[in-house]
Symmetry: C2
Subunit: 133 residues, 2 copies
């Protein structure tokens, strides 16, 4: 798929509307999505290679894994080698299954010498709002 097709598809799909009133009861917490934030510092000399590997891993995970709902990766404008990934999985099983996939193993092995620091933040969703189809 060409980049501009992906962008159009993105804009189309991001017009989907969703409001997730998460965490308002313990039952919903159990059933609701698992959201994590990864904070990474990348070796500046290997930043482009890292971004390519991450992009491929995200594309494959979203395409192949039903329980991987969203993976949003950005770099900070003021510190481009600082990367943040906002990760949403259907539940904990989906997350643990994701860690065992060949594409995640490939990403992990291929990028371990590019990543200088990694912090994983567990979260409780307050509200996850996005546009509908």
């Amino acid at each position: 798929m060409k980049a501009n097709q992906k962008l159009r598809l993105s804009i189309w799909a991001l017009t989907a509307y969703v409001l997730c009133a998460c965490g308002t009861s313990s039952a919903q917490k159990t059933a609701g999505p698992l959201v994590r934030i990864a904070e990474l510092e990348i070796d500046p000399a290997q930043l482009e290679a890292y971004k390519a590997a991450l992009g491929e891993e995200i594309e494959t995970s979203i395409r192949l894994e039903p329980g991987v709902l969203a993976l949003y990766a950005v770099s900070l404008k003021e510190h481009p080698n600082q990367v943040r990934i906002f990760e949403t999985y259907a539940n904990r099983d989906a997350y643990e299954s994701h860690l065992k996939t060949p594409h995640f193993s490939k990403y992990k092995a291929g990028t371990q010498r590019m990543i200088k620091a990694l912090k994983l933040l567990e979260t409780d969703p307050i509200r996850l709002g996005a546009k509908p189809i």
Copy 2:
């Protein structure tokens, strides 16, 4: 809308599929979405009131503003008064328009004494991947 309806709608809409190959050319950077991360520290005594105000602001922004594509708000499990909001706007105009809306003004005025610290991080998207309908 009841909480469980919102959750069902969320799961439905989060099955949407989108891959945004952002930032691969300067033209795309100009046309592509604006993504920011807000890092907030909330007065613990006012945390529930803040979460309610934020949830209302997100719900209204997504419903009324075509250019507000996604607002994902979470609190950190280890520091529940630390809030992160991952914000995606169609473009800079959409973001600036958002700041002028009555619902944003209401949120800003109503929460200013609840927020102890606020850091806004500008970002460059690497890849924004989410499920399709």
